[in-house]
Symmetry: C2
Subunit: 356 residues, 2 copies
């Protein structure tokens, strides 16, 4: 199952099957083309300019980042990344200075969900040569950030339009899973209110991989921001969104101990797989071994248990589909790229660990 070449990679390592990732990119882009929706992939999943370039080549209109520092790393690595949406409230003078700098390099859009955030953005951009595009972030049920009502969205849109240095561009939401109905209702109403107020709503941005194939059920959206779709992971297999063969990212681990007949220990713990459960039990899926549960992680150890003999030996290599691909990407400095099942390079994960 694991070639000698792959088995020779020092572990724990993260492997990226480029053929699978390319197929995943094409599949969603084709669907989006069919329903006439633009794609603006979220790079948090891969943090790699090489994958962003593939997404753009397939038809994406730009990229989404969550942090200014992530966007900076991506743009510095590939000057073809010229259109960036940062789906985050940027707060604080230091971050705003970075945002000013980034706005000189790319076509930049950010979001805001309060007048406090708008005031900060305006203060930073009033003196800049070009206005900053701002979307109003809306809470369509995920209960994270976002204004609570279409009326509040319209009020904030007006504040943005009136704020020196800013340009109101449209609406954005990170919807709940299966939230197309809520998105359609909230955004249709907010758009109508804002337009009645004399402002154009050029962009309505929605996202989320779990429900991406229902994006057509919220046609009010003009663009979609899938992230995890490029790699997939165990959480998406569990939701029935994809199959194991659609999972492009795996963690390669070595068995370091087989202390009892039904237990083995691997060298991938929470520093490699992370503790993200996403509602699942267990910390990953061992490819080819559905009997095994990774029931416990410490930083450097993963514990594998099986109701049948675990039948592993010290030195055996395993490939694991993590619960959540995005967070695993953040744990590694570089990813081993596979093409046609062969090692095709080691790519530094340039936007890893960008917290600011």
């Amino acid at each position: 199952m694991i070639s000698d070449e792959i088995a020779n990679i020092d572990t724990p390592a993260v492997l990226l099957d480029l053929d699978v990732a390319s197929r995943n990119i094409t599949r969603f882009q084709s669907y989006a083309n069919q329903i006439g929706m633009a794609v603006r992939p979220h790079i948090k999943t891969h943090k790699l300019p090489q994958i962003a370039a593939l997404q753009l080549a397939a038809g994406a209109i730009g990229i989404t980042c969550q942090k200014t520092s992530e966007a900076e790393a991506m743009v510095a690595a590939d000057p073809r990344l010229t259109d960036v949406l940062i789906t985050y409230n940027i707060v604080g003078t230091k971050k705003l200075a970075h945002l000013q700098d980034l706005a000189r390099k790319v076509r930049l859009t950010v979001v805001a969900d309060s007048s406090a955030v708008v005031a900060g953005l305006s203060a930073a951009f009033a003196t800049q040569p070009a206005p900053l595009r701002v979307l109003v972030e809306c809470n369509t049920g995920a209960d994270r950030c976002g204004v609570a009502t279409p009326e509040a969205a319209a009020t904030l849109a007006r504040q943005i339009a009136d704020a020196p240095g800013l340009q109101f561009e449209g609406l954005m939401t990170y919807p709940p899973v299966n939230g197309a109905t809520q998105v359609q209702a909230f955004m249709t109403k907010a758009k109508a209110l804002i337009e009645a107020n004399g402002l154009a709503v050029k962009v309505v941005s929605s996202g989320g991989t779990p429900s991406m194939m229902q994006a057509g059920q919220a046609p009010v959206a003009s663009e979609y921001r899938p992230g995890t779709y490029v790699y997939n992971d165990r959480s998406l297999v569990a939701r029935g969104v994809c199959d194991w063969r659609d999972c492009a990212l795996t963690v390669l681990a070595t068995v370091v101990s087989v202390p009892s007949a039904n237990r083995a220990i691997i060298d991938a713990g929470s520093k490699a797989l992370t503790s993200d459960l996403l509602g699942l039990s267990g910390y990953g899926h061992v490819l080819g071994r559905p009997d095994i549960v990774i029931d416990q992680l410490s930083e450097e150890h993963g514990r594998l248990i099986s109701p049948q003999p675990v039948a592993l030996a010290v030195g055996d290599k395993l490939r694991i589909v993590p619960n959540h691909a995005c967070v695993v990407t953040n744990m590694f400095d570089a990813v081993h790229v596979l093409k046609d099942g062969k090692c095709a390079g080691l790519w530094p994960i340039v936007a890893r660990g960008k917290l600011r």
Copy 2:
């Protein structure tokens, strides 16, 4: 509560109160001195040569690392770190080559819990100028790695003693919480069996911060490897091991959204705090705000809810004690050091992200 100087640090950031850490180091060293047990702190918690130096200055006999790459980073940063125990089964030719290199630089000890691991170590060290010290890892109830019985420990001790390039040095365990009785029983029996077999057991190494103040209840141990004790965290407060004022590591975060009266969002998510729960509910403790629960993390957002008005504003700074300090250390490239409540430097976390 948060000085202007600290509030000026860009977020999310990790802060290390050096006064608290120094006090924590001294407290356990004093206890260990009283009971006549050596201290060999696990550096996984801080990954900082500067803190290891403080631990040695207080009386520690050496350091513990979990990975060869961690040990390499620490030793390269401070030549005073001359005595290293790696409490991990080292498997694979690449890792063994690094181990050979490290063994030339420091007094090195590793562990093994199977003849497969012993065979690999022996093959790598048979040709080296000096033998490698090896402890037998024993399972005293944590059910991670380790031989299952004192008899198996004695058998493996003999294999190590007979293996070219290796020197049997003693026993090691990572015990379950409150496991002093099990440690004492297992190790006493294993030691007697091994000594009856004509081998000296020079080291019996135990560890774990939660039960460290009961180390004296397992006097068979010659050394103790506490890790988290230097920083403490929410999990240790929850166990009654320490108080909030003993927590040396905090995450500084900024409020970026207050979307409803009882909810606020900070810019520290799972990339900063990690998803480690350690049996707790919620992802950290907001200092000074016991009413707040951090009930949900995504990568870049932490959600704070309170039964009372959350009474926070965009831009407010908060200090959070994480559930688990060690894993947070691994997420940041550098730590802001505080002395007497003032910023005293930015230390690169040199052993961060060392997976190999």
